[in-house]
Subunit: 112 residues, 2 copies
């Protein structure tokens, strides 16, 4: 359970930054080196590396260094756990709205 929770923490943290979401979108189209990403996002190598490390810790990006070039690819980890958590939240929200709707319906006659 702690392990599951930690995975959600890491993935949602990784997704909470626009540059990191941009990196995932970019890698969805093609693999890229750290330098490619730094150029694409107008950031320093150090800045991009930090973002890539956070994505890598969450399993959303894999990197491999060959010679002096570190190439980044989309990690194999899917966002299934996170999607399932959010779907449950959505169900709770809808159930709450249904209960509110029923309450309003039930008390409609009492106003007039």
């Amino acid at each position: 359970m702690v392990h599951y929770s930690r995975k959600l923490d890491d993935a949602f943290t990784a997704l909470s930054d626009p540059t990191r979401r941009g990196i995932l979108e970019r890698l969805g189209r093609a693999n890229a080196s750290i330098s490619d990403l730094a150029e694409a996002f107008g950031m320093t190598l150090t800045g991009i590396k930090k973002h890539v490390q956070i994505l890598e810790s969450a399993g959303l990006v894999s990197t491999k260094k060959v010679g002096r070039v570190r190439t980044c690819t989309l990690g194999r980890r899917s966002l299934d756990l996170e999607a399932a958590w959010m779907a449950r939240h959505q169900q709770m929200l809808e159930a709450r709205l249904d209960r509110l709707g029923e309450f309003l319906e039930r008390t409609k006659g009492q106003e007039s």
Copy 2:
């Protein structure tokens, strides 16, 4: 676009902490005061208030103070935007796996 991105930042940040996800799950069952939440999560009032503020900024929780009691309810904001972003990511991952599969299939004869 910036506004859309900011919404994603706020929601994913809000979801990146286990106590904040726990508060959402708790409020999905019933409304609760700040004191109720502090007791349920074994935290100080100040600690819980900080978490609730982050959830409120993201639109995921609403609060209303009557007298000295601040009651928290689930906010109206759904996680549709976030779910859509994640579904797109999932499609990219699958497309990448398909391409990899095709490549392996195409080059299978060449190994032997």
